[in-house]
Symmetry: C2
Subunit: 135 residues, 2 copies
């Protein structure tokens, strides 16, 4: 199970996309999420590095770096999630056992296939698809 980082980041981006008055601060966004401004800023920092938002000290978030139609959930996922592998594989198996010797490679091929399909699904959904739900 992935962390809530993708979910919280989508929340952050939605607030930015729909905000009427710019700029907007991490404090304001945090109040919508009911969490800590520092936590929001940590994610904002990743979103900025991935060129999804623009920020400025003193002003706060100045906007999306791209149109919401051009920000996919895969972009967000890759920006904020460090642990991207869907399934994890146990290491240190007994290489003297034919199964222990091959299981890692077998599982890796198999999981890669599912991982790719999942990421393709994420890439097909944009921030605009999300924000239109809030209007």
């Amino acid at each position: 199970m992935y962390s809530t980082k993708l979910s919280v980041s989508i929340h952050i981006l939605s607030v930015i996309a729909l905000m009427e008055v710019e700029p907007i601060t991490s404090d304001y966004i945090a109040s919508s999420i009911n969490t800590n401004p520092a936590l929001v800023r940590r994610l904002m920092s990743r979103l900025k590095k991935a060129k999804l938002i623009t920020t400025s000290t003193k002003l706060g978030v100045t906007g999306l770096a791209r149109k919401s139609e051009d920000i996919s959930l895969l972009d967000v996922f890759l920006a904020v999630e460090d642990q991207r592998d869907l399934f994890s594989i146990h290491g240190n198996t007994n290489l003297n056992c034919p199964i222990g010797a091959k299981i890692e490679g077998t599982l890796k091929n198999l999981y890669d296939n599912i991982q790719t399909a999942t990421e393709e699904k994420l890439s097909a959904i944009t921030l605009a698809d999300i924000t239109k739900e809030f209007i």
Copy 2:
């Protein structure tokens, strides 16, 4: 990211499917995984409850409860993984904010769609598909 429970369980089932001498013990299986027999027995217990394997005190594992062609990875996943949701959603959002009020439902719909696709992929792969890699 899911735990290694699915991976380890596939390993356990592969050893059972390919073993030449029955019955086989949690000690033997643990030596292929390079882990603790008690950990193996915990997973075995779940696999037994899900009617995927048969066991006996004194003898150990007596075999698969079904043909390996009839055991899908989804069967295994559902048997051993408690945290099945692919993505997690942050709760306790600010309901006074239009985004905070709707984000949970929006994300849930979206994630359910991806979850279903992932589980369908798992259901299309059987233990037999795995074990044929080890021959």
